[in-house]
């Protein structure tokens, strides 16, 4: 059994980005309440998980936390939980926050993997995406990280913006590669309901790119980075070498156990999933009153485990185990998907091809039967 991972959701941002539907607040007044609540929540889980081998601060924008609060959070985490040697300790950051002092603090706190929300290296695109930083800020941020000796730096990029030109996107990646990042997340812009972009789309003010262009962008991105030696190890993620994949995120896709702390965080352990209240206020109030902030939970049926294993596996280059396929109908469908070039066998695993990645959400719907032994 794989070791568990620990996730902490920091639900604060300098400002809300119009495309993002992760839960966060753009005001800081609840920060210290949140920290108290998170500390209280940690106590609830003390002793319930074995030693973690990943820690991931996500959000929100964890780098937005003022130095003393980040220090206090990390001290509390180390106090309450145990970690194996060589634990991957990641933090998501905004280029604007990565001052020399902040970079030094991260180093001092033991972070060994820093993800920078670069998103674009074109100021016009950054402004469209509602980002408060300029391309130059990202360049400086990454340089500072390198100067401070960070050896595992990831960059997040967004592509497929309305009207974006392919050459321009390839050029953006080229610029990003000049920093030789260990990790690249290249997200296709998704217009989510409930975001500003979602409302603009409904009112016809924003037209997402068509499916054919999406496909083109996806394939070109994958091919471009593969040529430059990057491993396309998940739909949107690339690693410079095998050891630079994000081990924490891989736990989600491999169905390893994880504990999520903070508002809206999700957890998974022994076939049971549970999740916290989304609202910061609700989360803080519950813990202040000594109650659990858990809002819902589910225990998976065998059919659900099957569907998840296949669907999550197909997001990664590792695919899923052949032993998932038991029935004759599924065997037959699997054969067909292989023949059509969406899947291939790799030892005792079934893995997606690049074409398979493109329809990774159709495959499980077609392949998986409900009634499973």
């Amino acid at each position: 059994m794989e070791q568990p991972g620990l996730y902490i959701h920091v639900p604060f941002c300098r400002s809300k980005c119009p495309y993002c539907d992760f839960y966060s607040l753009a005001n800081t007044s609840l920060m210290s309440d949140w920290l108290d609540a998170a500390a209280a929540e940690m106590a609830l889980y003390k002793g319930r998980f074995r030693a973690f081998d990943t820690l991931y601060l996500g959000g929100g924008t964890p780098s937005f936390l003022p130095d003393p609060l980040l220090d206090a959070l990390m001290a509390r985490v180390r106090d309450q939980f145990s970690f194996s040697p060589g634990t991957e300790i990641s933090i998501e950051t905004n280029p604007k926050d990565l001052t020399a002092e902040k970079v030094a603090q991260l180093k001092a706190l033991g972070f060994n993997r820093v993800n920078v929300g670069v998103q674009s290296l074109d100021d016009r695109e950054l402004s469209f995406l509602g980002r408060q930083h300029k391309a130059e800020d990202a360049v400086e941020a990454v340089s500072r990280l390198r100067a401070a000796g960070f050896e595992n730096v990831g960059m997040d990029l967004i592509y497929g913006l309305p009207g974006q030109d392919m050459e321009h996107w390839l050029d953006t990646m080229e610029k990003a590669l000049s920093f030789e990042p260990e990790h690249l997340s290249c997200y296709q812009l998704t217009i989510e309901n409930g975001t500003l972009f979602g409302r603009m789309k409904k009112q016809g003010e924003l037209a997402p790119i068509d499916e054919e262009s999406e496909r083109e962008f996806f394939l070109r991105t994958s091919e471009f980075l593969a040529r430059r030696g990057y491993l396309h190890y998940e739909i949107s993620n690339f690693a410079r070498q095998r050891e630079y994949t994000c081990r924490h995120n891989e736990k989600y896709w491999h169905r390893a156990p994880y504990l999520g702390l903070g508002p809206s965080a999700h957890s998974f352990q022994q076939g049971r999933r549970w999740w916290n209240s989304r609202s910061v206020r609700g989360y803080c109030k519950a813990l202040k009153e000594g109650r659990s902030p858990v809002e819902g939970e589910e225990t998976l049926s065998s059919a659900q485990v099957h569907l998840e294993s296949v669907a999550l596996g197909l997001r990664t280059r590792k695919g899923f185990e052949s032993s998932e396929i038991l029935s004759q109908t599924e065997q037959k469908r699997l054969g067909e998907l292989e023949a059509r070039g969406f899947l291939r066998r790799d030892g005792n695993r079934v893995v997606p091809t690049r074409e398979g990645f493109l329809v990774a959400e159709q495959i499980p719907v077609y392949l998986c039967e409900d009634g499973r032994l």
């Binding site: 499916e211 896709w253 994880y258 809206s264 999700h266 329809v359 959400e361």
Partner: protein
């Protein structure tokens, strides 16, 4: 008998028939207000939801007029669709008068005219009633003029009412007592009672609704159904309040029910005459017709495991619907099911919907078709109402298809578009008459196959709702028919085959391919849909595959949300039939007949 009035309400759809019936029932105090619910005579969910009446229903209303004279008013509620025109004709034959309801803002419409003619055919007293006078858009003067000119009725006689607000209801009741003639006929003569409906009661068996024209009957009598020539002992007679109310005796002029141990409604024929076994009437009441199915389609369970459950459901359903006929059927694509015959497409839809709702079945229905005849080279004649049974082409000497005489009534200004429509549907031998100025009646001989599906909808569209349509069977005529097959990714789907007129085959094949392209969702791979006659491909369309279907982000650990989306998609898939590796939604099997997209 002098105090009995038998009447019906006829109206264009949505002119307020059920609401008026509700008010009459309330006004006569048959039901306490607190127990009242809207559309009280429409018992079935499907009737209440669609706002239509499917089965005839009678109710006896006690009414005392201003002079203090007591009446028994028998209101017979009738279905309003051409599929059930025979049932309507039997209900009207049971009445002496009708209320012809006209909407005060819509005015006289197509169905109003068709209804008027139906009533006139039965020589009924017609009382025009203008309803919905409370509407701001009501234009009473214009509607009166239309009643005068379009219908040729005395508009001064028209009663103004608002069934919704309950105004003018007394006047309606008074007019019924005053103008509808009392029934004639002697209680001393041999019994003649007209069956206008029958329904099934799980405890009492078949309940026969009838109008007694002469003679009388009581519990203990032995009755004889004259057409069926079967005798039964009467257990109970009575009248319909909102529930059944037993009575000692039903006599000439009255409307009521008979319970006599008849097991299923299929043992009773609407339009048959009930007489006494001991003293039979010399002849039956006129107008009896054997109702025969005209539209055929197969019903299959979506999951082949559900065949037995479907079989049981049909058996139970049939207890209450004598018009449905069915027998076992099988298809390579869909497995084992039933071939069914229906009165028309509304009847088909009703059967489908009730099987799904009341009996919890998940069904696939195949393309409706008519019954063709083929004369083979060996001299034999075969009837074919299922494309699967289309004979080997080389053995066919002659093909015959059923023709009807269509009567279409429209305002003159729509003549051009209606002519075009009829000619496109292979109409021949046209005739025109002008019943009233500005109005035209067009008659055409047309193949039944051309009208069963969407002809009426089309007619209503091109005439903006002013076209009314009725038809009678003519005969079988020589035709040139072929079987058009559909192939999905190279695999023939027998349940999608149709028998079509050769000249139209290519057009119909393209149409079918187009509809399937709309109905079948995209898959991971390209899907080819082809229309073929024998080995010749005559139409081809393709459904392009998903080019990309994966979302960029799937973490923060929220796997639940993603999985639920997938589960929802899988659930949708379950409502589809897998043919090879293609999922075909149930709606696709009927959609191939539609000439236009939704």
């Amino acid at each position: 008998m002098d105090n009995i009035r038998n009447f019906s309400i006829i109206a264009h759809i949505d002119h307020g028939k059920s609401t008026l019936a509700d008010r009459l029932i309330q006004k006569t105090g048959l039901v306490e207000d607190r127990k009242f619910r809207d559309q009280i005579l429409d018992n079935m969910d499907i009737e209440r939801e669609r706002g239509i009446t499917i089965k005839s229903q009678a109710v006896t209303l006690p009414y005392v007029n201003k002079e203090g004279k007591a009446f028994e008013l028998n209101l017979i509620d009738t279905p309003g669709h051409v599929d059930f025109s025979y049932e309507v004709s039997r209900a009207l034959a049971s009445c002496e008068g009708v209320l012809l309801l006209v909407d005060a803002s819509q005015g006289v419409e197509a169905q109003t005219v068709a209804n008027l003619y139906a009533a006139m055919e039965h020589d009924l007293e017609i009382i025009p009633v203008i309803n919905k006078i409370d509407l701001p858009s009501a234009d009473i003067e214009r509607v009166k003029e239309e009643i005068e000119v379009d219908l040729g009725l005395d508009s001064e006689q028209a009663i103004l009412c608002s069934a919704k607000e309950g105004t003018g209801i007394d006047q309606v009741l008074d007019a019924v007592t005053e103008y509808v003639p009392p029934p004639k006929g002697s209680a001393e003569d041999p019994l003649k009672a007209l069956i206008f409906d029958a329904h099934y009661d799980p405890f009492r068996g078949t309940i026969v609704s009838c109008r007694v024209f002469s003679g009388s009957l009581a519990a203990g009598d032995t009755i004889r159904l004259m057409y069926n020539n079967a005798a039964y002992r009467v257990e109970e007679v009575g009248i319909f309040r909102l529930a059944r109310e037993p009575k000692k005796r039903l006599s000439a002029g009255e409307v009521g029910y008979i319970i006599s141990g008849i097991k299923t409604v299929s043992d009773v024929r609407v339009g048959d005459t009930v007489t006494l076994d001991t003293r039979p009437a010399p002849e039956r009441l006129p107008g009896f017709k054997e109702v025969k199915p005209v539209v055929f389609s197969s019903i299959y369970p979506i999951s082949s495991d559900d065949y037995h459950s479907l079989s049981e459901a049909l058996e139970k359903y049939k207890l209450n619907d004598a018009a449905l006929v069915y027998q076992k059927d099988s298809s390579v694509a869909l497995g084992v099911g039933f071939r069914c015959g229906f009165l028309g497409l509304l009847h088909l839809e009703i059967v489908q919907e009730r099987l799904e709702r009341e009996f919890g079945q998940s069904l696939i229905m195949t393309v409706p078709t008519v019954r063709y005849k083929f004369i083979l080279t060996n001299g034999e004649t075969v009837s074919v109402d299922n494309p699967i049974d289309y004979p080997e082409p080389v053995t066919i000497d002659n093909a015959l298809e059923p023709y009807i005489r269509a009567s279409i009534m429209i305002p003159e200004r729509y003549m051009g578009v209606v002519m075009d429509l009829c000619l496109e549907r292979r109409g021949v031998n046209s005739q025109f008459t002008y019943p009233t100025p500005g109005r035209i009646e067009i008659q055409f001989d047309m193949p039944l196959a051309e009208v069963i599906y969407d002809f009426y909808d089309k007619l209503k569209t091109v005439t903006q709702g002013y076209g009314s349509f009725d038809y009678d069977f003519l005969d079988y005529r020589k035709s040139d028919l072929v079987r058009m097959d559909i192939l999905v990714n190279g695999e023939k789907v027998d349940a999608l085959s149709q028998i079509v007129f050769r000249e139209n085959a290519r057009k119909r094949a393209l149409q079918a391919c187009d509809r399937l392209r709309e109905e079948i969702p995209r898959h991971m791979f390209k899907i080819a849909i082809q229309g073929a006659i024998g080995g010749n491909i005559i139409a081809r369309k393709t459904i392009s595959p998903f080019r990309k279907d994966v979302t960029a982000k799937c973490y923060g650990g929220d796997i639940t949300r993603k999985r639920k989306l997938l589960e929802k998609q899988k659930k949708g898939k379950k409502r589809m039939k897998m043919i090879g590796s293609v999922s075909i939604p149930q709606s696709a099997f009927v959609a191939v007949l539609k000439s236009e997209s939704k």
